[in-house]
């Protein structure tokens, strides 16, 4: 094992080599904080590097020294992975669907074989399909390295001892059981017994148990904060068994307990791709002649673009309009046409045109460096990152972007010229793997992975996440190398005995120094129950701490006194007020007064979210339009009767063609969907005409006719689907229905479908013979009407409707807006107004009550 006293680490000119980049970052920070705590403004800083960087430094040194071994260039991590991806993609026998995803495991096997000095299988001698595939890949990778004149860090490591170490080369630190090749490269280790590597007793850890991980991490942070505050020299370390898994919980707990993200050092930084400016960056580069609505919508409204502030409202409204077009993919030409000459969107227009121009000028393939230049030009055109150059946001974003480019353009050394899409994918991947620079924490509290804790030489240590698999579960052998040699070599995860020894060493080494030692575990998560790790005897004795309420410090507000406010009415409407939404407001009022108020007086609606294909609303509208066209062509039943089946079909086809005229099909998908819709409508309209051909004579006197009607002191704009005149001169008002409909929908009180009764009431007395739903269903066309028979008391029915509609209109006029759904949960189920009506707050969840208490009959 390799472990140096903390005091030795900061010796000027000394170099320290630690297990990885994460360890190196944490240790460098710890050394700096210790100097600051000692009152120093500046100091000679030691070089702290992870071993791959140290190997790279040695390689460069050899190269500068002109040694033969230094001929090859050393692949960067990105280059190495890109090379593996090429190898896997080229291996026809493996036929991989996503070589990029498979490459890391192959690269890991290669590295593992070298670090642990495992003889790799040959293609002919591999025992399994997986190892045989790896043997092929490894051979191909080796060949590519040779062809390129390149090498990688693991390969270099194998040549340890052959070269002179560079001046200031580091000493190993923080390694418990390094792989043999690494150990040999690091040189002489500190002996396990005595000296710096003093091992302590696992009994030194005071055990704690908590109900779940959030409680556990919060308790550890609450323990750490006062120690760090009281003792600037302290290095308070909270080490987790699986930091990757626990990261969201830890991040949340840091904010809850310590106040904000910068209060302590967290060993896992956020991905650059998740930062707002970089979301905008990717969105900008995805702008193409055809865009998906959701991507475009997010980009369009992003604040990091030129003109985002001044055109904010106009862009949001444009987006809402575009979404309302029911198009999943949007041609840029259509977007530009929508913008038109709107001065409120002038910057957006210029920006889109510039991006499209750059897009059009881009070659099909070019080296990565060319694409990075192209991307940079796109970003400049977009005004990215959208703030003044002097803003820290701009500086940091630009710097991070430059660093990403620095790494990406190295890919030209190993990759053939990519397409734009391939280059963008590389960039996306690189942004996902890059992390945000970690700011200096206010206190010396380090939350790190357990394996990184040793290098920090904690003065105060809390091992968290010590459940039964602590330190022994995470490691796994490679599936691409035979298991027996891995076990023989002691690869982590391959040999339980060696794993246990390793875990014990770590626990005991950590116990060997420092002033306070705690260990904890979570007794459960959800339904699961966990048991403590036997490595830490103190845990078995710990009683589970009762769950505490976890509330963020920033939420510390006193309870507000809430006053009741009777808000069941809006202002009454002036006489003659014209209602938006026509008779739909009556239907809404009938279902729930609040719904009517919200929809028709507040215009409270959601922003639509398009889906591929045609929406139900569009399909319904098309049916109405085509039927209107059909009856426009026919005029009356006699004309229909004169047609035979073929004639009706031809007429349906003509009507549908005319009805579909407004549909634009600009994408291949739309062309297909519209063709299907046309065929569907021809069949549907044809069937309907077949059905109507059996009716008594009538003529169609109105189609989709709109008018304004005064009723109950209000003015309603109405649109009638169709009005038929019967032989006796009286009229039937018709409403086309493509979904479910029932005669019972006209039953007061609070009719579900008051539209047709409304027409019946407002029409001149005696002119209406009845009302009808035309159920336009290809399989079962139906005509549902009232009166149902000649015997029915029409006058009584009309009177009942009048009473009901008077009631509804009166409520509307008086501004009644109480959330009282007619059928309880059944009414609310498909209503979008829940966030606004606040019914749950008032009545509690409706569950399935109110619909007769049955879920299903």
């Amino acid at each position: 094992m390799y472990l140096l006293p903390f005091a030795e680490l900061s010796r000027p000119g000394a170099g320290v080599v630690v297990p990885g980049a994460a360890s190196a970052r944490a240790l460098a920070l710890a050394l700096g904080l210790a100097e600051r705590a000692a009152g120093r403004v500046s100091w000679l800083a030691p070089a702290v590097t992870g071993w791959p960087s140290a190997v790279a430094a040695q390689h460069e040194y050899e190269l500068l020294a002109g040694r033969p071994a230094g001929d090859a260039f050393l692949l960067s991590a990105e280059q190495e992975l890109a090379l593996w991806q090429q190898v896997l993609a080229a291996d026809e026998a493996s036929a991989l669907r996503a070589p990029a995803q498979a490459a890391p495991a192959a690269a890991a096997a290669w590295r593992l074989a070298r670090l642990w000095r495992i003889t790799e299988p040959t293609p002919g001698g591999a025992p399994t399909t997986d190892t045989a595939a790896y043997a092929r890949w490894a051979a191909a990778y080796r060949a590519r390295l040779t062809a390129l004149g390149a090498t990688d860090a693991a390969t270099l490591l194998l040549r340890q001892g052959q070269e002179e170490a560079p001046p200031g080369a580091g000493r190993g630190h923080g390694f418990v059981d390094p792989a043999p090749a690494l150990a040999a490269w690091l040189g002489e280790a500190v002996p396990a017994a005595g000296g710096a590597a003093q091992r302590g007793d696992a009994h030194r850890y005071r055990g704690h148990a908590y109900t779940d991980r959030a409680q556990e991490v919060a308790a550890a942070l609450a323990w750490a904060a006062p120690i760090a505050a009281a003792d600037p020299q302290a290095r308070v370390v909270i080490a987790l068994g699986d930091l990757r898994q626990a990261e969201p919980v830890v991040r949340r707990a840091v904010r809850d307990v310590l106040g904000d993200d910068h209060a302590c050092y967290l060993g896992r930084a956020r991905a650059l791709a998740d930062e707002p400016p970089f979301r905008a960056l990717l969105g900008t580069l995805e702008i193409a002649p055809l865009v998906r609505w959701d991507r475009f919508s997010a980009w369009l409204r992003h604040g990091a673009l030129a003109g985002a502030t001044s055109e904010r409202a106009a862009r949001a409204l444009l987006d809402a309009r575009l979404r309302g077009r029911d198009r999943y993919e949007l041609p840029m030409a259509e977007i530009l046409a929508s913008i038109g000459d709107d001065a409120a969107l002038a910057e957006l227009r210029a920006l889109l045109e510039a991006l499209l121009e750059l897009h059009a000028r881009a070659p099909r393939r070019q080296p990565m460096v060319g694409w990075l230049g192209h991307f940079d030009a796109c970003l400049n055109a977009a005004g990215w990152p959208g703030v003044a150059a002097t803003d820290a946001l701009a500086t940091n974003a630009r710097r991070a972007w430059t660093e990403v480019c620095d790494r990406l353009y190295r890919l030209d050394a190993v990759l053939p010229a990519p397409t734009r899409a391939e280059a963008l994918q590389r960039l996306r991947q690189s942004l996902a793997e890059s992390t945000v620079a970690t700011p200096t924490p206010r206190q010396a509290i380090f939350v790190v992975a357990a394996e990184d804790a040793l290098a920090l030489a904690p003065t105060h240590l809390w091992l968290a996440g010590c459940e039964s698999g602590f330190l022994v579960d995470a490691a796994r052998p490679s599936p691409y190398l035979p298991i027996a040699p891995q076990r023989a070599a002691g690869v982590p995860g391959a040999d339980p005995g060696r794993d246990l020894w390793r875990a014990r060493c770590l626990v005991e080494l950590l116990a060997g120094s420092g002033r306070e030692h705690h260990a904890s575990y979570a007794a459960g998560e959800g339904d699961e129950r966990f048991t403590p790790s036997p490595l830490l005897p103190g845990l078995a004795r710990a009683a589970v701490t009762p769950r505490a309420t976890l509330l963020p410090r920033a939420w510390g507000q006193a309870p507000a006194a809430l006053a009741a406010c009777d808000d069941g009415h809006g202002p009454a409407l002036a006489r003659g007020h014209e209602m938006r939404g026509g008779t739909a407001v009556l239907a809404a009022q009938s279902a729930c007064p609040f719904r009517a108020f919200a929809r028709h007086r507040l215009a409270a609606g959601e922003v639509e979210e398009p889906h591929p294909g045609l929406s139900a609303r569009t399909r319904g509208t098309l049916v109405h339009r085509c039927l209107a066209e059909a009856w426009g062509l026919l005029g009356d039943a006699a004309a229909l009767a004169a047609l035979d089946a073929a004639g009706r079909h031809a007429l349906a086809a003509r009507a549908v063609r005319q009805g579909l005229r407004p549909l634009r099909h600009q994408t291949a998908l739309e062309r297909e969907i519209h063709a299907i819709e046309e065929a569907r409508l021809v069949e549907l309209v044809g069937r309907w005409l077949d059905f109507e051909a059996t009716r008594e004579p009538f003529s169609v006197v109105a189609r989709e006719q709109g008018e304004l009607v005064d009723y109950g002191g209000l003015r309603f704009g109405v649109r009638i689907d169709r009005v038929d005149r019967l032989a006796d001169g009286r009229l039937v008002v018709v409403d086309y229905k493509t979904g479910a409909c029932r005669v019972a929908d006209w039953e007061p009180p609070r009719m579900r479908e008051p539209q047709l009764p409304f027409y019946a009431l407002v029409a001149p007395q005696g002119t209406i013979a009845g009302i009808a739903f035309a159920a336009v269903d290809a399989d079962e066309p139906r005509w549902l009407q009232a009166p149902a028979s000649a015997d029915e008391d029409w006058a009584a029915r009309v009177a009942a409707w009048r009473a009901d509609l008077d009631q509804l209109a009166g409520e509307i006029a008086h501004g009644l807006a109480t959330p009282t759904p007619r059928d309880g949960a059944a009414t609310c189920r498909l209503c979008e107004q829940a966030p606004l009506c606040r019914l749950a707050e008032r009545s509690g969840p409706l569950g399935d009550e109110g619909s007769g208490g049955e879920d299903h009959d």
């Binding site: 409204l317 460096v369 979210e609 009545s843």
Partner: protein, 1100 residues
């Protein structure tokens, strides 16, 4: 009393494989634990034993039991029989552990007790390529988005032309061109593709499917024929012949015997069915001329009476009517050309959707559990052609134990078969499956209860022979309850005409307590009344027995109605898991609205909701004023004249919120979305209004959980939209805090499995479950006596019904009904002492209460009916009344003066050092500069220097390698190397460089690393070159490898000096803190041999 001790002892035989039926409360887990202990004493490595449990919780519990047993083995021998057995088994393990050096106690994770999903993942991890998941994806717990995306991609294949285009178009036409519906149905199918994928792989074979249909129908006809009692059969034949004559129906005319069990005879059966059954499938009690029966006067033979007698006799045969009804709509040819085209299309599209899912998952690096189970099967290979598993697995499995075997799916069963392929009798490897078919309640997770029966019948799984064992002793419930359940369960099965094959009566160990069950009847469902009665009962039980555990179990969440609220209102401590959804919590609904508002300025509904929430509390009048403005509400709020149009109090409320929201939108540019939403919510006074409201701190904890979820959602690759937000929080349940003390547990019956309570309260037994959604494809697959599969499939019909689809769904419905009985059994057997049955039975037309068909009360009616009548007594049944909604309580809102006034500024990290931005056109020059810089550093670091010319020659090789590594185009490398060499030559030849690199300088250093700290940061600085000159002045020099073309070099150098001045002065400040020397600063430009220097004024 049945003594099953022999079976329990036998089950520990290490060399024998067993299939054990272990009913509720029979100590199944204890038996499994003992067997694992027994096996541990016999293996080389503990990893050779794999025990499969249904949940991770169960796995951890079993591991704990084993560890506890090992710990207890060091204690003296216990007296109790069971514990003594465990003790001695554990002692043997301890000895084995010591002998083999396992250190199990220190490493309990070596015990491979896991879920079947975990086993699949483990297999895939060991053979990822063979398994077809070489990317080793992470498990996606929430794969809905993946399914949706794959379904969408499959449908988008319509643009690809050819057969696939036709297939998608066919399906879209079939479903009225409703893409969304089709996509949803496809996505649902993907969730259970392990069931149908193998059926569709080879494409649709019409002859094969028609043959499968024939065999299924003929099997059913044979069962029908056999079920008809001989006497009734003869009378039925006579009736048939009579009706045939009356109606001139050729299918029946002259009927002399029951039709054969042949598909061709199906129409004849249906002709018989038409006078036996009504259209709705009920027994036809009255017949008329329409059915072929003349009025009494014209019926001298009394055929109507014969009919009545036959119907009475047949109705007494369990299931006969339902089976006949199922066949009534079927045609002898299952598919017409249109149907068949849809089947073909569906098979194609399903295959493509599954393929897209694989690709989608590959690219995303995430896969669902089903992908892992399919992959694990692939890794194992066909039993006949196994893969090289033995060479790949880290440990060979010698003993496989499977708990809850009744919930095994077909895929999991196949996995077990393949894992044990090649196991030979006597080779020491064993399989041990244990479960209770009566507790199979996970059909929705593809559990297939018939598999257990098949294993018991076959006494084998694949090649492994299993000895059946049965446990019968119930250690959990008191005798009265066990006896009642022994009666109730067969009665419930009989009620749905199901065979009681899976049920085995139990024998109680615990003494009887009376009463075992209590009925709480009602004639109509009244949620409020039921909730009040439950509260009253719970209070009574808690008062009488404070330590007793109580659970309220419901069939579905909707059946709880207002029970949870009523219990909460009564102050009863509750543990209600997966009961309340996030959006049902007002605080959560408000902050989701806030998130939506920040997501989109034009989301009017969300903006209005934000303005109406308690932190703002605008009334409808004010909202209408703002809503009347054109443009977005966000813009309206920023409009002073509009705010002035409001009442002053409303204007004040609106202005405060507007200011916060404007600031929030600016922060969106700098901080992750979830962070901004949280900060805004806090600034609006979110915590204050929640604490002041009825929900209190508990709701605040839910809000905290929402922010954690929001961070995850916003960080995902898929764009966050209002719909996604809404759907996410509408579907997920809040996790309530566990109260102190003995809480009443409220949960669904499914969740209660594996738990036990003293008292079990079962409300809403009179209600029926929601109907299952109709899948895109219905199918039925059965093996005949020869093991040949008979498969029939039907796509979702375009019309409301389709004969074959309905027939296949009706077959599944029988399974659903049987599972219903099992669910009731599970609920009843959770009780140790007493069950409390709440239910309503509406009064029928005959004035008697009758439970609704399909309700649990209906299942128990044979036992409860009389009591129900008696308890209701003479009380006149109330007419059904629609439950009236309570008048909504008034809106609550806070006083703005009690809330924060503004949003604090963001936490802005300090700007990093300004970066040199790329000049893309001059990238090669940049590379040259970088390499030159590195070489000059090397020159500066050298203690012994060769002549510059020699060194430059050597540097060429370094330059070439580095330029290649940097990605420079090969054609450019040679030229660039020359440029580097030239720059070095110029630099080293000049006086400036000679002075800079003079080895005689005191304290000379290159790449000097300094730590430097300020108030809020610790930074590392690296100085290119530093030394102390003869005058004792400290020089700090940085090399800059920028180039300048064109004129005015001096101007460019001045500009560069201004640009880098802060950087160098920071170096100077750092060094000044270490030594008291005068300091001068210099910038050296080797590529243009430029120089700028200035004195450091000491930070002034």
């Amino acid at each position: 009393m049945i003594d099953d001790a022999a079976a329990r002892t036998r089950a520990l035989e290490p060399g024998i494989s067993f299939a054990v039926r272990a009913p509720a409360g029979s100590g199944k887990t204890s038996l499994l634990t003992q067997r694992v202990l027994r096996l541990l004493a016999s293996v080389e490595q503990p990893e050779q034993i794999v025990a499969i449990t249904f949940t991770r919780k169960a796995a951890e519990e079993m591991r704990l039991r084993i560890v506890e047993a090992l710990v207890a083995a060091t204690a003296p021998e216990p007296a109790d029989d069971y514990q003594r057995t465990t003790w001695s088994l554990a002692r043997a393990v301890v000895a084995r552990d010591a002998e083999r050096g396992w250190q199990l106690m220190a490493q309990p994770a070596r015990l491979r007790i896991m879920t079947i999903d975990a086993l699949c993942q483990s297999l895939v991890r060991q053979m990822p390529l063979t398994a077809g998941l070489p990317g080793l994806p992470a498990v996606e717990d929430d794969p809905g988005l993946l399914y949706g995306e794959a379904a969408r991609e499959a449908l988008a294949s319509i643009t690809h032309g050819g057969r696939l285009r036709d297939a998608v178009a066919c399906l879209l036409r079939h479903l009225d061109n409703d893409w969304s519906h089709l996509e949803t149905l496809l996505a649902e199918m993907l969730a259970r593709r392990d069931q149908w994928l193998r059926l569709t792989t080879a494409g649709a074979d019409r002859a094969q499917l028609e043959d499968g249909f024939r065999r299924l129908v003929e099997r059913e006809l044979a069962q029908l024929r056999q079920a008809i009692p001989a006497d009734s059969g003869a009378a039925l034949v006579a009736l048939g012949a009579f009706v045939g004559g009356q109606l001139d129906e050729p299918l029946l005319r002259g009927l002399a015997a029951l039709p054969p069990a042949r598909l061709e005879a199906l129409p004849a059966w249906q002709a018989l069915g038409r006078f036996l059954l009504t259209r709705s499938g009920e027994w036809r009690r009255k017949v008329t001329r329409a059915e072929g029966f003349p009025p009494k006067a014209d019926d001298p033979q009394g055929m109507k009476q014969v009919h009545a007698d036959v119907v009475t006799e047949l109705a007494a045969v369990p299931g006969l009517g339902r089976n006949l009804a199922r066949l009534m709509g079927l045609a002898t040819g299952p598919y017409d050309e249109t149907d068949w085209a849809v089947v073909l299309a569906l098979f194609d599209v399903l295959q493509v959707a599954a393929a897209h899912l694989v690709v989608t998952a590959d690219v995303a690096g995430r896969a669902d559990f089903t992908a892992f189970s399919i992959a694990a099967l692939a890794a194992l290979g066909e039993p006949e052609r196994p893969t090289d598993l033995a060479l790949a697995l880290d440990y060979q499995i010698r003993h496989l134990l499977i708990d809850e075997f009744q919930d095994t799916s077909v895929t999991q069963f196949e996995l077990v078969r393949r894992l044990t392929a090649g196991w030979q009798p006597g080779d020491g490897r064993t399989l041990f499956v244990v479960g209770d078919p009566m507790q199979s309640i996970y059909r929705f997770r593809q559990a297939e209860v018939s598999l257990f029966q098949r294993v018991l019948d076959d006494r084998a799984i694949g090649e492994v022979a299993l000895e059946p064992l049965a446990l019968a002793v119930n250690f959990r419930a008191q005798a009265g309850l066990v006896d009642w359940i022994n009666q109730a369960t067969p009665a419930a099965l009989a009620r749905i005409a199901a065979e009681p094959a899976h049920f085995v009566p139990q024998v109680a160990v615990r003494a009887a307590l009376e009463p075992a069950w209590m009925l709480h009847p009602a004639v109509q469902h009244d949620g409020a009344a039921e909730a009040a009665a439950v509260v009253e009962l719970v209070a009574r039980l808690r008062a009488a027995e404070p330590a007793a555990s109580i659970a309220v179990l419901v069939r579905s969440r909707g059946h709880l109605g207002s029970i949870v609220m009523a219990l909460q209102a009564a102050g009863v401590p509750l543990a209600a898991r997966e009961i309340r959804r996030f959006l049902e919590v007002p605080a959560v609904a408000d902050l989701v609205a806030l998130a939506r508002a920040l997501l989109h300025d034009a989301d009017r509904l969300a903006w209005l909701a934000v303005l109406r929430a308690p932190w703002c509390g605008l009334e409808l009048a004010a909202l209408e004023t703002l809503a009347a403005a054109s443009g977005t509400l966000a813009a309206a709020l920023a409009e002073p004249t509009l705010l002035q149009a409001l009442e002053p109090a409303a204007a004040r409320r609106a202005a405060r919120v507007a200011a916060i929201l404007v600031a929030a939108r600016e922060r969106l540019l700098r901080e992750p979305f979830a962070d901004v939403v949280e900060a805004t919510w806090v600034a609006l006074g979110g915590p204050a209004v929640v604490l002041g409201g009825p929900g209190g701190a508990a709701e605040l904890e839910h809000a905290r959980a929402v922010f954690a979820e929001l961070a995850r959602l916003a960080g995902a690759e898929a764009e966050l939209t209002a719909a996604r937000l809404g759907a996410h929080f509408a579907e997920r349940f809040v996790v309530p805090a566990q109260p102190d003390g003995q809480a009443v547990q409220v949960m669904t019956m499914h969740r209660a499995k594996g738990l036990e309570f003293d008292h079990v309260v079962l409300p809403s037994l009179g209600r029926t479950p929601r109907a299952e959604d109709k899948p895109l494809l219905a199918w039925r697959e059965e093996l005949d006596r020869h093991g040949r599969p008979a498969l029939a499939v039907a796509p979702l019909p375009r019309q409301r019904s389709g004969p074959l689809y309905d027939y296949l769904r009706a077959s599944a419905a029988a399974e659903v009904r049987e599972e219903g009985v099992r669910l009731l059994y599970v609920a009843l057997t959770r009780a140790r002492r007493q069950v409390h049955l709440f239910g309503h039975a509406p009064v029928g037309t005959d004035g008697a209460p009758a439970p609704r068909k399909g309700s649990f009360l209906d299942l128990l009616w044979p036992l409860l009916g009389d009591t129900f009548h008696a308890m209701l007594g003479a009380a006149a049944p109330a007419p059904p009344v629609r439950a009236a909604l309570a008048a909504p309580a008034p809106l609550l809102r806070a006083d703005p003066d009690d809330l924060p006034a503004r949003l604090p500024g963001p936490l802005v990290p300090a700007a990093a050092e300004a970066a040199v931005e790329f000049d893309w056109a001059g990238i090669d020059a940049r590379h040259v500069g970088t390499v030159t810089h590195r070489l000059l550093q090397d020159w500066g670091q050298r203690r012994e220097r060769p002549p510059p010319g020699t060194w430059i020659e050597g540097a060429r090789r370094f330059a070439e390698v580095q330029l290649r590594a940097l990605g420079m185009a090969p054609a450019r490398v040679a030229g660039a190397v020359e440029e580097v060499a030239a720059a070095l030559a110029v630099a080293l030849a000049g006086d400036r460089a000679t002075w800079l690199f003079d080895p005689t300088h005191a304290e000379a250093a290159a790449e000097l690393a300094l730590g430097w700290t300020s108030a809020d940061e610790v930074r590392r600085l690296v100085i290119d070159r530093t030394f102390v000159d003869a005058d004792g002045t400290r020089w700090i020099v940085d090399f800059k490898t920028g180039t300048h073309a064109g004129g005015d070099l001096a101007g460019w150098l001045d500009a560069e000096q201004a640009r880098y001045r802060p950087q160098l002065e920071r170096y100077a400040a750092a060094l000044a803190a270490l030594e008291p020397r005068p300091i001068r600063l210099g910038l050296y430009f080797p590529l243009v041999d430029g120089w700028r220097e200035w004195g450091y004024a000491g930070g002034a």
